[in-house]
Symmetry: C2
Subunit: 812 residues, 2 copies
């Protein structure tokens, strides 16, 4: 049975003209159809000039007993439609299986509902009640439960409560199952039953806790002996119930809530413009119309407000889906609204809330630590330190490294010790993390920023005109043969670092790095860490670094203690049995962006074939739900903080350190990502050769392949090739779920301040065809797109088509 | 109907000898009692030498039809007991209401179950099945739903599924209601019914998603005409079912899970000791036995592992509750495992996951911003910037202030500009936040730390020998009349800052502050912010600062632009209509610890009667669930970042900025805290005069009282008085939910490195009477205790008794 998957183009349903409510039941046979009929009739009664409709997406049981027929009979004044009718009176997933009809997929069902509702909305003001089958979690035809299946529509809900013995429990539980999927239950309706009086309890419960009104109708008449008086009794019942004041109140409430929802959505951008101080945003350039109002999100998609004019535009859809192309600032992995992550978060919240972590331990923190250490496949890493985000985790890493280096090399507390890094590195927005980066547009205007280190130049990799080109800075004279550009047939060849090393391609890197270190030493510079974003520099402009260069840099640093501390000889250093002692400088890999499968492997650093002493993980760590960071370290680093003085400890620790909710969600995410890897869920994105190599491994883990053999991407090689040949594309690369298109626009400005990619970005957002549209972010002249780890092949292809069309339309 | 409240002393239930399982039903009448009977009989059959018991805490319906009687009849070999029997066959909350018996409170019910289970455990190895009534959310006698009511026991669950039509839905929803309360459902049992085949769907569903085995038993025989053959049929059914292999498998699984749970709990501290790098902890001094293993937490209490010896100690309770006296590092407000917070978190996770916040807005972020700005009651504050925790939020505040000051005063980017603060201030662990604090034990050994500012000395307040004493530094020569110590009758008098100001008590402060500012100016020092923790310095040692001093400091700084920028005259500055322009220096209030009712008011700064330009909020912001920070600022500060250059923007923004889960939880927390304030839920802790003043206000908001009139605390004045007279207490203060006891031990060391409070701390943790025990943290010679905002009066009194006894026992 499939985990409910993100719905490619399923959009939320909202029109000004049409009030659409989904009728869910706390259980089956509790009066769902009776209440739908009452509501439909009452809507007709109170809004006689408007159109009311009743939709049953899936119905089971013989046609003459079907709910649809019931509505036809007793509410003939209401339009009614059933989309899928199965004869057998069992749950739709069984009825569909034994039926001769083709089982509609979830996507198709949602599209059909959307289409039906859009048609109704086009007719002008009205009501539409969409009745579900059975209880909230009764399976639909595909086997997904309805609460999961219909979630992307995010229809407001009328929940029919259960008035029978036990009905308090089923009603509250059904409500909770809806609530934790992001549904808004707007009212609860149930029969007024005097013995158990569930309505009395539930009125107080939902009113006090959730501000949700509970309304009742009398129980329908008991079945009469002959069909004729039965029908008459029911007709009279419906006349009375649909005219009753509780039902009128309920409808008036639903009418108000519909208007409130739209009115709030439409005022949000103006209120936000006055109230919110946005991150990394020049608000002088921001106006309310540039603020995206996000109603909700599901799978790969945001559901955002479409600006319309109230007076003239009442039948246009107010919400539309947009593919979240920046993976919500690089965080998304398992899809928006993933019910497994929700349940993990809620479980930890229920079991612990947050519990203090100093000198204490709880299951999610410990299990996550064990899972991360095992998954990294880096024997050096033995310790996990938790903090709240990538920036704080980077500061923790630096505190760790600097102390270890200072103690070993005997530097005083007052000596200036920096980090060795790469130009364009970025490690976060807190001052300490900023200080690890060279002056750049992100930090140079920030008071108290003071770059503490030296940042080296390096060769980068791009696909240009169908070839994978490694371009070196002038000083390196090219990776081989003196040319500054060397090209490869494939990205796999670029990542075949061992073969390239064996061919001597690393020698020029080694020479240049050694010369640079000597020069820095001669200038009296001191360093306490080598700090790298392995493989890709994200915020620095989505730069793919030649992996052989980073590998060489790590290896040179490790054997060059004498270049960091005068007279210190790496060879003389005490070594440990497991070869886990740091040498030269502690090596920090900042995998906040690149790790946990963003680039296709659990550890991005493993693509270099060298192990870090300290490794930082965030963003995808929680699958894209809540902030959490884990800084992993070796025992060799850890021991530097052991002392008899408690103030020699690592002096860092946020109040919510190792918060249970984050750890439980991360445990769920990392476990799921590993499961997807091992069970071959990304096989579609791999080459046949890769799939074969993986199958030959005992564990099917990509990380057990050599770097060169493990390069893969969800972005199709032909698409990347096409892009690389486009006149306005300077270069492109794709790795894992990331695609980076470096535009070669006419715009003179370079880097972050460039606007070269803005045209393409706007065109992608405005796309209106069957492939939907794309919400993306740019970094100067780079437009990047990031799929989630659950994004399906067809969705990636759809985005590829969007990009192709946008590049054809806009630029040419 | 009360929101389920934290259970004072309800402990989780776990013994090595006794496997205790709670039998919950997806609905009523689905075979719960049948399965309990089958399980009991099967346990007897497969573990014949062990003791098996069946407990029904609450039963309704005539005694001769009761479940207990059923078990007696068909499983006479099993011990059975019913704690509360109500005759009427309706839900217990109604049955209890109409019954002549006294309704047992939730606390009493839990204690009775605990007592019964403890007795069974003392008999040696065995099983205990605790059967609930109706469905998971069926109300208990008090009206709380069972899932909430029994949560503190955290018994592992056998969930009886529903095999009828609709039963897939009710079973999954019931499971989710349990899961989000932190229950572990260990197995699902249901009847094997062939038409709907719910067992087939549920086996796949629970197996694949949750690793939970689903087992079946045949449906019981249909009722025979005569009672005799009916009983015989049932007897035969029970014999067969209890011997069946699915039930044997289920029990074997439960047996294994029981052992696994204990074995994991008992190995966790050793694994953590090898794997975790703890915050602010000298791990050389840490051994596994010092690591607290937290199984779960509920309300005010942790449930922690009690170390025992497996061979000899099989009947001792393995878990015990401890009052979370540090409020989990100052974060807790609404209680561990609060279901309203859980549901808020899960709702946002379901509706959004996390969605990118740059140039976008979503409801929880916007609603929270509006709620915070309204709640602060500070007309200056108009903008909300989100970050991930107090430390990052403090850095954001500093970035804001320094830019505003630098631009107004025309300082170059290279000029050294610091913050003006108080000695002992602490704003967080990231380097930038550390730099705002004077060198101290928390930062002075941290590489890259560089205190950037000047930190003033100030008078503090303590209760000593029954008097409230303001003690001034020598330079201030006392607040009045030259004495260094001035005493007041009450803390309210100390906080009556307007009256004290009118009496001229602030004059000496004003003089000393002005002199200091002049001296700093003459030394060429530049400042870009006044940064204060209002009222209480937390990490600095729980120091209560004379509010009149902080108020005077703000006022002096505001009118002293000439002391910060040569030739700049505050009077000449353009003023705004609403008087919201900052003057002198931007004033930052770091309310991370002190705000949101920790000290009794929404804004701690409001206790000073002056408004900040920038205000930082975290910890209690989310009620104690997940990290989130909001930095609030005035338009005057905001405008400093407006420019045509996008790199002049505030360059800060974490990936999870304004994450929906955190914002929704915070919205729920802040709204609930405000509701509690206005509805008088803290009346018990206030004086009669205060209650009366509040009732006369239109809004009943404490914040609308003058500072002096609004001082209150949950800690009893007589208890504080008693402490203040204790020989080993140097001084004490209580405000809001915080109690700080400054010990005057013989220990020579001062501050953080002192161990003076450790004896008291150990004694409180080891307490074993009916008042339970207390888990607390110390700061050097200060032992502080923090209640949650939902902690009940009786729990506070209990903790007070614990402290009294511990001080009597240990110190004297």
């Amino acid at each position: 049975m499939p985990i409910p998957s993100p719905q490619a183009l399923a959009g939320s349903v909202l029109w000004r003209s049409l009030r659409v409510y989904q009728v869910y039941g706390a259980n089956t046979e509790i009066g769902k159809t009776v209440f739908s009929t009452v509501l439909s009739k009452a809507a007709r009664r109170h809004w006689p000039r408007e159109k009311t409709a009743f939709l049953k997406p899936v119905s089971t049981g013989p046609l003459d007993e079907a709910d649809d027929r019931h509505v036809r009979k007793f509410a003939s004044e209401v339009a009614h439609e059933t989309l899928h009718q199965f004869d057998l009176a069992v749950s739709p997933h069984i009825a569909a299986r034994v039926s001769s009809q083709q089982t509609p997929s979830d996507d198709i069902l949602l599209s059909s509902i959307h289409k039906f509702a859009a048609h109704r909305a086009s007719l002008g003001p009205g009501w539409l009640f969409v009745e579900t089958a059975g209880g909230v979690h009764s399976p639909g035809p595909s086997g997904s439960t309805q609460a999961d299946m219909y979630a992307p529509l995010r229809l407001p809900v009328v929940l029919i409560g259960d008035s029978r013995l036990g009905g308090i429990s089923t009603t509250i539980s059904a409500f909770e199952s809806l609530k934790i999927r992001g549904y808004d239950v707007e009212t609860v309706l149930l029969f007024k039953e005097e013995k158990y009086q569930n309505h009395a309890y539930l009125t107080e419960y939902f009113g006090e806790r959730h501000g949700i009104p509970v309304k009742t109708a009398p129980e329908p008449p008991t079945r009469a002996a002959d069909a004729g008086s039965d029908a008459n009794n029911m007709l009279r019942y419906y006349e009375d119930a649909s005219a009753s004041s509780p039902i009128a109140d309920a409808l008036a409430h639903l009418d108000t809530r519909h208007k409130q929802r739209i009115s709030r959505l439409e005022s949000m951008s103006a209120t936000a413009h006055k109230t919110i101080w946005y991150p990394f945003t020049q608000q002088k350039h921001l106006s309310p119309d540039k603020i995206t109002v996000i109603d909700s999100a599901s799978g790969d998609n945001f559901q955002t407000l479409v600006p319309t004019k109230p007076d003239t535009d009442n039948t246009t859809a107010l919400l539309r889906p947009s593919f979240d192309g920046s993976a919500s600032w690089w965080t998304q992995g398992l899809g928006h609204g993933n019910p497994a992550l929700t349940l993990a978060a809620a479980y930890a919240a229920g079991r612990y809330g947050h519990v203090m972590f100093a000198e204490a331990v709880h299951e999610p923190a410990l299990a996550l630590a064990e899972t991360l250490l095992a998954g990294m496949g880096n024997a050096r890493l033995r310790r996990v330190f938790y903090s709240d985000n990538g920036s704080t985790g980077a500061e923790v890493a630096v505190k760790m490294a600097l102390r270890a280096a200072r103690l070993r090399y005997g530097w005083g507390a007052d000596e200036k010790v920096g980090v060795l890094g790469l130009r364009g590195s970025y490690h976060g927005d807190t001052i300490g993390a900023m200080d690890c980066a060279e002056p750049c547009v992100f930090n140079e205007k920030v008071e108290w920023y003071e770059g503490k280190g030296a940042w080296l130049d390096y060769p980068t990799v791009q696909c240009r005109a169908g070839r994978w080109v490694v371009e070196s800075p002038a000083e390196m004279g090219g990776v081989a043969g003196g040319s500054r550009e060397v090209s490869f047939d494939s990205l796999s060849d670029v990542f075949d670092v061992e073969a390239r090393e064996a061919r001597g391609e690393g020698r020029v890197y080694e020479r240049v790095i050694t010369d640079t270190l000597k020069r820095l030493q001669s200038e009296g510079r001191k360093f306490g860490a080598l700090m790298l974003e392995p493989v890709v520099l994200g915020a620095g402009g989505m730069l793919l670094v030649d992996p052989l260069y980073q590998r060489t840099l790590v290896n040179v640093v490790r054997k060059s203690a004498h270049l960091f501390a005068d007279g210190y000889d790496t060879a003389s250093q005490a070594t440990t049995d497991d070869n886990s002692e740091w040498t030269g400088l502690p090596v920090i890999f900042d995998e906040v962006f690149t790790g946990l499968y963003r680039l296709g492997r659990f550890s991005a650093g493993s693509l270099l074939g060298v192990d870090a002493d300290i490794s930082v993980h965030a963003k995808l760590l929680t699958g894209g739900l809540v902030p959490l960071c884990a800084t992993l370290a070796s025992e060799s680093i850890f021991r530097a903080f052991e002392s008899d003085d408690k103030s020699d400890a690592l002096l860092h620790g946020h109040s919510y350190t190792a918060h249970a909710v984050g750890c439980q969600v991360a445990l769920q995410s990392v476990t799921e990502l590993r499961r997807m890897e091992v069970s071959g869920e990304w096989d579609w994105a791999m080459s046949a050769a890769q799939r074969e190599s993986l199958q030959q491994l005992p564990s099917a883990s990509i990380q057990n392949l050599a770097p060169g053999a493990s390069v893969w991407s969800v972005w199709h090689p032909e698409f990347v090739d096409w892009l690389s040949r486009h006149a306005h594309v300077g270069g492109v690369w794709a790795l894992g779920s990331v695609l980076a298109i470096h535009m070669s626009g006419a715009d003179g400005a370079a880097g972050y301040k460039s606007d070269a990619a803005r045209g393409l970005q706007a065109s992608l957002l405005q796309a209106a065809g069957e492939d939907g549209n794309l919400h993306s972010r740019v970094l100067g002249n780079v437009l990047y797109i990031m799929a989630g780890q659950k994004t399906k092949e067809e969705s990636v292809r759809r985005v590829e088509r969007l990009v192709r069309r946008a590049l054809e339309d806009v630029v040419e």
